[in-house]
Symmetry: C2
Subunit: 430 residues, 2 copies
C-alpha cells in the first residue's frame, strides 16, 4: 500500500474550500467582465528560455524546471505576466488594441514554505495593453476598487505613485545610475523601517542625497500637496506629473477620490515598471499587506518582439484575499450547491426519485437524490453534514404525497403535492 500524501506547499481543496474559492472567483470574473475584459489561457508548461528571459536570481532558484522526454528544457510558469508577454508577441496580429484581458490560473514556485507560502497558487491578472493614457491607468485603479467592493472586502485604500516622476527626481540629484537599487531599497521601507532604509540609501548615494530621497518619499497631507511637492522636487511640471493630475481629476469625476492616496514611497520592487505603480490595502485589515498591486510598463513584450507595447495592469493575490475575508468574517461558508435532498425509501424506487429530481431541476431547484436505502434518521444526518437545509421524503415510491422536512428546524410538513414543495423551497431560499 502506498501512503496517501501530497507535496509540501501544495494543497487539496475539499468541497467547502473549493466552493468558497469559486464563489469568490465568479464575483471577481463578473467584475472583470463588466468592464469588457476578456479571458485568455496559456500553457502551464513553457520553454524555460521563454520563462526565464534575461534570467534572474530569485526566479531561477524557485522555478520548477526539467528536461522533458523529448529532451526540451521546460519549466512550469511562475507567474502570468511573462507568459502574457510571450502571448502578446506571438499573437499580436490577431489582437485588437487596446487589448483588455484577464487571466485566472495557477502558477508554481518552489518557495520556502516556512513563511506560510504555497508552492502552487492562483493568480488573477488583468491588464490593458496598447493604450498609454491616464484613462487606461485609471480604469485599472477603478477596477481594483470595484472588484474588491463586489466581494464584500469593505473600503480600500489604493496607494499610488509614478516611477517615471521618481526617476526624474533621481536624475536631478545625479543618481540615475543607481535608480534600480534605490527603488528596491525604498520599496522595503514598510518592512525594515526608516532608519535602516536611510542607512542603506546612504551606502548607495551618500548622506545628503539619502536624506533628500527620504524627504521625497514622505507623503504630505493630501494628494494635491504631495503631488505639488514631488513635482517640484523632480524639476517642475512634466508629462508624469500631468498624468498624475489627470488621474486625480478622473477620481473626482467618478466620486471615488476617498479610496486613493498619493504615496511616493510605493515603488514596487520589480524593475519592469516605468509609469504609475500602486498597492491596495483593506481599510479594516491593512496589516495583511497589499491584496492587489501593479503598474505600467512601457515595453512589456520587448524580450520577444520589436514592437513596443505599453501596458498597465494588476494582480490579485487570491490566497491573501481569502485569508483577509476569513479574518473579517465575510465568507459565507457555503458547503453545498444542493438546496434539497430526496430521501431513498426503497432502492427499487430510485427511478421515481430521479423523476422527482428532474421536476425539481426544471423548476430551478438544485437537488441531491440519495441512492441508498437507509434509516431516515441516518439520511437526515448525512444531509445535515453536507449542509443541505431541506429533505423531501416521498411516499408510495414517489407517486404519492410528499413530506418536506426542514433539517435546520427539524420540522416536517406532510401530505404535500409537488407544487407545494416547490413553492415552499423557493420561498425558503429567500
Amino acid at each position: 500500500m502506498i501512503e496517501p500524501r501530497i507535496l509540501k506547499g501544495f494543497r487539496d481543496f475539499l468541497p467547502s474550500a473549493e466552493i468558497e474559492r469559486r464563489v469568490l472567483l465568479e464575483k471577481v470574473e463578473k467584475s472583470f467582465r463588466s468592464f469588457g475584459f476578456v479571458p485568455i489561457d496559456t500553457p502551464a508548461l513553457e520553454y524555460a528560455e521563454i520563462l526565464l528571459g534575461k534570467g534572474g536570481g530569485e526566479t531561477e532558484k524557485q522555478i520548477y524546471r526539467f528536461t522533458d522526454n523529448g529532451g526540451r528544457d521546460v519549466a512550469l510558469r511562475f507567474d502570468l505576466t511573462v507568459p502574457f508577454a510571450r502571448f502578446l508577441a506571438e499573437h499580436r496580429g490577431e489582437l485588437s488594441l487596446p487589448f483588455k484581458r484577464y487571466h485566472i490560473a495557477k502558477v508554481w514556485r518552489g518557495e520556502n514554505t516556512q513563511r506560510g507560502r504555497y508552492r502552487e497558487f492562483t493568480q488573477c491578472d488583468f491588464d490593458i495593453v496598447g493604450s498609454d493614457t491616464a484613462a487606461a491607468d485609471f480604469e485599472i485603479l477603478l477596477m481594483i476598487r470595484h472588484t474588491l467592493k463586489s466581494i464584500d472586502a469593505g473600503d480600500v485604500t489604493i496607494r499610488l505613485n509614478h516611477r517615471g516622476l521618481f526617476n526624474r527626481f533621481l536624475g536631478r540629484i545625479g543618481v540615475s545610475d543607481k535608480s534600480a537599487e534605490i527603488l528596491r531599497t525604498v520599496d522595503k521601507i514598510a518592512k525594515i523601517g526608516r532608519e535602516a532604509t536611510l542607512e542603506q540609501l546612504e551606502a548607495l548615494t551618500g548622506a545628503e542625497k539619502a536624506r533628500s530621497i527620504l524627504d521625497y518619499i514622505r507623503p504630505r497631507d493630501s494628494f494635491e500637496e504631495t503631488l505639488a511637492a514631488i513635482t517640484a522636487a523632480a524639476g517642475g511640471p512634466c508629462a508624469e506629473s500631468e498624468r498624475l493630475a489627470l488621474i486625480r481629476r478622473f477620481m473626482a469625476d467618478t466620486g471615488c477620490a476617498d479610496s486613493f492616496t498619493l504615496d511616493p514611497s510605493i515603488t514596487r520592487g520589480l524593475d519592469y515598471y516605468t509609469g504609475v505603480v500602486y498597492e491596495t490595502f483593506l481599510n479594516e485589515l491593512p496589516a495583511i499587506g497589499s491584496v492587489c498591486s501593479g503598474g505600467r510598463y512601457d515595453d512589456l513584450a520587448g524580450l520577444y518582439s520589436k514592437e513596443k507595447l505599453s501596458g498597465v495592469g494588476s494582480s490579485i493575490g487570491l490566497d491573501r484575499l481569502i485569508a483577509a475575508l476569513e479574518s473579517l468574517g465575510r465568507l459565507k461558508g457555503e458547503t453545498r450547491y444542493a438546496q434539497v435532498a430526496v430521501a431513498c425509501i426503497r432502492e427499487a424506487d430510485g427511478g421515481l426519485a430521479q423523476a422527482l429530481g428532474q421536476k425539481l431541476r426544471e423548476a430551478g431547484i438544485t437537488c441531491e437524490v440519495f441512492p441508498d436505502e437507509k434509516k431516515l434518521t441516518q439520511q437526515y444526518i448525512v444531509a445535515e453534514k453536507k449542509g443541505i437545509p431541506w429533505m423531501i421524503i416521498p411516499s408510495d415510491g414517489g407517486s404519492g404525497s410528499l413530506t418536506l422536512r426542514n433539517l435546520i428546524k427539524r420540522e416536517n410538513r406532510e401530505g404535500l403535492a409537488l407544487d407545494g414543495v416547490i413553492a415552499a423551497l423557493l420561498e425558503g431560499e429567500k
Copy 2:
C-alpha cells in the same frame, strides 16, 4: 530577442476560444451542481509514486516526471482519477458518503501529437463514491444525458454494459484467467473490425470460445432481448443482471429509455472497472467517437487505503466535445462580454466616460470604455473587430446628450438621455 513560441502539443487560448470554453464549462458545471455535486481540486504536481501506483507501460512513457529542487521524484497528473483515489484515502474522515464530486482541471500527457492529440488538456470528471447501488449507476447516466442536452449537443445514445456479467460469462466458458486481455481485445472491435477481433480472440482462447465470445457481444434488437441473451450466456439471473434490469426500469421511470442501448461489446480498456461501463455517442455525429465514458470500480482507493470504496463515475472529453459542437454549428461564436463600448472624444474626459460606464454597470450592462482619443471611425472599427454591437458617443465630455450607434446596422440615434440608452440596450439584448 527570444523567439516567442510554445511547446508542441500545448495551446494558447485567444479570447474567442477561451470564452467559448467558459460558456461551455459554465453550463457543464451548472448541470453538475443541479444534481448536488460539489467541486474539489488537487495539486497539478504529485509524488511520482502516487501517480504511477502499480506502474503501467503507457502511463510511465507519457508522464511528465522529474526531480524537483528538493530531490523529490515528482510528476504532473495525467488524469483526475488517480489523484481522486489518493484524495479519498487521505481525506476519508472529512467526507460524508455518498460523496458526489466533480473536478474540472488540466492534465498533462507527453502523447504523440501526430494523431491530433494535445499534451495539455482539460478533463471534467464526476463520480459518486460510497454507494454500490443501481440508483448511483443510473444517476451518472442521467447526468451525462442532462449535461449534454444542456450544452445543445442534441440527442445522445449511451451504450451500456456490465463487466461483472461479462466476467461471469468468461468464467463459465473457462477463460477467466485471460479476462483482462479479452476485454481489451473486445474494446477495440469498433476500430479493428470483427475479423481482426476474431483472429486475436482465437489466438487467446481457441476458435470455439472466440466464436462464443463474439456471439456474446452481439447486440440484439432491444435492451430486453440483449439482457436476456447475455444473462442466459452468463449462467442465468444473478446480481449483475438484476442491476441492469433495475437500471432499465429507472430509465423508463424517468422517460429517457430512448437514449440508452445495452451493448455487450462495450468493455472500456482500463482494467479497474468492475461493474457497469458505458460510452456516449452524439446521434448527429457518432463517428467522432465517445464524448463521455466511464463505469463502476469496486475498490478505487485500494492502492492507498484498506477501506474498500465503491464508486461510479464518468469523464467528459472537452476537446472532442468542442470539436463536435463546432462541426454541428452549435457554438455561438461569442467573442466578447461587453454589450457596449463608450467612445473617447477627449482624453481629458476619461473620468466622465468612466462615470458613464459605472452607471451602465449598475444597470447590469457590461461596457468597455475606450481610453484613446482617436477618430470615431477608427473607434467603430476596433469595436466591430471586438464583436461589440453598440457604441455610445457622449457629447460635452459626457455631461450632455448621448448618441447610441448600432454597429451592426451602422445606424445612429442622437440626443438620448442615459435612461433612453439603457432602455435601448436592454431591449437590444433580447
